[in-house]
């Protein structure tokens, strides 16, 4: 297994280099530059700016400088802030959103999928399965505004936009621990997160429930399940201990693409709900031709996705004895 992990990590290096090269040259060969929009900038000032950001050097030199010093490079549009700083400040917001969305997706998806698989082709199956179909076909950018319209503008249950993070000055630590303010505190810090996470997670919940249903249906007809039942194992025990491990295999292999999809989805969600995360920044920085930040974010996301895919692969082999690390 160690050999497998090592080989995969080594394999990552040329892939990431290719990603960096593609991103860099795509940015730089396209017309336009980061200072084009400032019309009042004179030729001399532009030259100075170009010098300051090393834009006057040959491309290959810039590329080498970019990939070797990426985290410490300055952003073009946020003066005096490095790429590393911006990412480490903005990513936790996106990560929080992604984490809650994934929790919702896995929790609801597996629950509905298992329920649907227990009584196939009855109403217990049809109701969650049709919900899943709706979830798959309703794009996040339709669902997000609709949820906002109903739950925050009409009913006023949740804030429509914005992002508080974990700060809640009105709750001190002693309040939370000693004066039973725990639940209000949790409600406070999560209320602004409910709609974005549900919107982002719903599609994946739907997809995961379909995968779970299919996987469980395959497993539940196997002989060893019948044996377990014959030996008197309770229904719950059969599901939890004997079937889920095999039934969730399709879900595990879907997790890799799902993570990449969640990141793409966060671009839209962050725009709709005005959440100050990395996704919104990425789209803005591309428009602004903020070369350093674009490259930084792309490399960060690429590394993250490749790394998470590796974890998924390892999980898959550990859960499925039929597979081997090759």
């Amino acid at each position: 297994m160690l050999k497998f992990i090592l080989r995969r990590i080594l394999e990552t290096i040329p892939v990431l280099l290719c990603v960096a090269a593609m991103t860099f040259f795509m940015c730089r060969l396209a017309p336009g530059g980061p200072f084009d929009e400032d019309k009042q900038v004179t030729a001399e000032v532009r030259e100075l700016l170009n010098k300051q950001f090393n834009l006057d050097q040959p491309l290959h030199k810039q590329f080498i400088q970019y990939i070797t010093h990426l985290p410490t490079l300055q952003s073009f549009k946020y003066p005096n802030r490095t790429v590393g700083e911006i990412i480490s400040q903005k990513f936790p917001v996106s990560a929080k959103l992604g984490f809650f969305a994934m929790t919702i997706a896995l929790g609801l998806g597996i629950l509905f999928g298992v329920i649907a698989s227990l009584r196939p082709n009855t109403y217990i199956d049809y109701i969650p399965s049709s919900l899943a179909m709706i979830g798959i076909c309703l794009p996040t950018f339709v669902m997000g505004p609709l949820l906002m319209l109903v739950f925050s503008l009409q009913l006023g249950w949740f804030p429509a936009t914005g992002w508080g993070g974990f700060d809640a000055p009105q709750f001190s630590v002693s309040d939370i621990v000693l004066h039973k303010q725990f639940i209000p505190y949790i409600t406070h810090i999560t209320s602004d997160m409910v709609l974005p996470s549900v919107t982002l997670g719903f599609f994946y919940a739907a997809y995961i429930s379909r995968l779970t249903r299919g996987g469980m249906l395959d497993i539940l007809t196997q002989d060893y399940i019948r044996t377990a039942k014959a030996k008197g194992a309770s229904g719950l025990r059969v599901i939890l201990k004997h079937s889920l491990r095999g039934g969730l295999l399709p879900v595990i292999s879907f997790m890799g693409p799902a993570v990449a999809g969640l990141i793409a989805g966060s671009f839209v969600i962050e725009t709709i709900f005005n959440i100050p995360g990395l996704g919104q920044d990425f789209v803005k920085s591309a428009f602004n031709r903020d070369y350093t930040l674009v490259l930084g974010v792309v490399m960060f996301y690429a590394t993250l996705i490749i790394f998470l895919n590796l974890i998924v692969d390892i999980l898959q082999v550990t859960l499925n004895p039929k597979l081997k690390f090759d």
């Binding site: 892939v15 990603v19 593609m22 991103t23 795509m26 940015c27 396209a30 017309p31 336009g32 179909m133 709706i134 798959i136 076909c137 309703l138 794009p139 950018f141 339709v142 997000g144 505004p145 609709l146 906002m148 319209l149 503008l153 379909r210 249903r213 299919g214 249906l217 890799g256 693409p257 990449a260 990141i263 793409a264 671009f267 839209v268 725009t271 709709i272 990425f282 789209v283 591309a286 428009f287 031709r289 674009v294 792309v298 996301y301 690429a302 996705i305 490749i306 895919n309």
Partner: protein, 320 residues
């Protein structure tokens, strides 16, 4: 989904090689949801491509500022938008654009996927493992990010190309259609991976069959074996997956347009209409609800047709 045992017994006379399609049609006809989806798509295509002939030329850009944000009913069947443009007209034009992008970009991805998958599966061995490893790597990349970058950075390239031609005294102009062309290429270049995998698997299993061996021993040239004898035999799964690719492509187009990267205003696409509606849903719910619902129903229909076709054409592999 359907019980295949309900097929009538095969007639005594031998059918002329159309049994797959006849049987598929028989199974598809029994799938009410797939049929309903198919009918809806046909109606929608008719409305968006033939409908405009019965409308005035500026039906989707005609701006009447006094009528802005008119509620549905009356003069504007589906209301008007923030510039007083008829929402129905814009939805029709938007549907035309969205369907067009869906079809053309799917065709691009189909061509790449079939070509790549056929070559990889047919030659096998080293070529195959290198080609498939590449697909694996591409799968693990954040492709949407590249599409976004491509759409942003290549946006002004159309103007540059025009200039290049103008400098050489040519009237050739591409910038008007540039963004659409870019969409076709960018989306098509992303969506071919799964198709390549499916085609490769099919070709590999076909390769071991006798009629291909016969072709080889008859000395047919490789390209003839590939495109004359292989490709027609993998048509079933390809058709199924194509039907499922179209909604994925339309979704990606709407996603890009929603972020302001796809189709450029004043030309509408459903993604743009939904974006406009989301921005103004407080005062004009109809701007969000109508295009959003229509888009969702369209995706629904394509998915149902795709699932139905899978059950009909390939009863073995259909699972749910």
């Amino acid at each position: 989904m359907n019980d295949t045992s309900t097929r009538p017994d095969a007639p005594d006379t031998v059918e002329k090689g159309e049994s797959l399609w006849v049987g598929a049609w028989y199974r598809l006809r029994k799938n009410k949801m797939a049929l309903a989806g198919g009918v809806f798509i046909l109606l929608l295509a008719g409305l968006s491509f033939i409908g405009p002939f019965f409308l005035e030329g500026d039906y989707y850009t005609n701006t009447v500022l006094e009528d802005k944000l008119t509620a549905p009913g009356g003069e504007y069947t589906l209301g008007s938008d923030h510039l007083g443009r008829d929402q129905l007209g814009r939805i029709i034009k938007g549907g035309q654009i969205s369907l067009l992008v869906g079809l053309v970009a799917t065709f691009v991805s189909l061509t790449i996927g079939i070509g790549y998958g056929t070559i990889s599966g047919y030659f096998g061995g080293k070529i195959d493992s290198v080609m498939m490893r590449l697909v694996d790597i591409l799968y693990s990349l954040p492709f949407v990010i590249f599409v976004i970058l491509l759409m942003v950075f290549a946006k002004d390239l159309g103007d540059s190309i025009d200039e290049w031609f103008r400098a050489r005294g040519s009237e050739f102009s591409i910038s008007g259609q540039w963004n659409m062309l870019l969409l076709f290429v960018a989306i098509g270049a992303v969506e071919w991976l799964t198709m390549a995998r499916i085609v490769r698997g099919q070709v590999m299993s076909l390769r071991r069959q006798e009629f291909i061996e016969a072709c080889i021993s008859l000395g047919l040239p490789t390209h003839r074996i590939l495109f004359r004898h292989m490709v027609p035999n993998i048509l079933g799964p390809v058709i199924v997956y194509t039907t499922l690719t179209i909604p994925a492509v339309m979704l990606l187009e709407a996603f890009l347009s929603f972020l302001g990267l796809g189709v450029q205003p004043p030309t509408p696409s459903w993604g743009l209409l939904i974006k406009d509606g989301a921005d103004r849903m407080r005062e004009a719910w109809w701007m969000l609800v109508f295009p959003g619902a229509l888009f969702a129903i369209t995706l629904f229909s394509f998915n149902f047709v795709g699932d139905g076709l899978r059950d009909a054409l390939d009863p073995k592999t259909s699972k749910d």
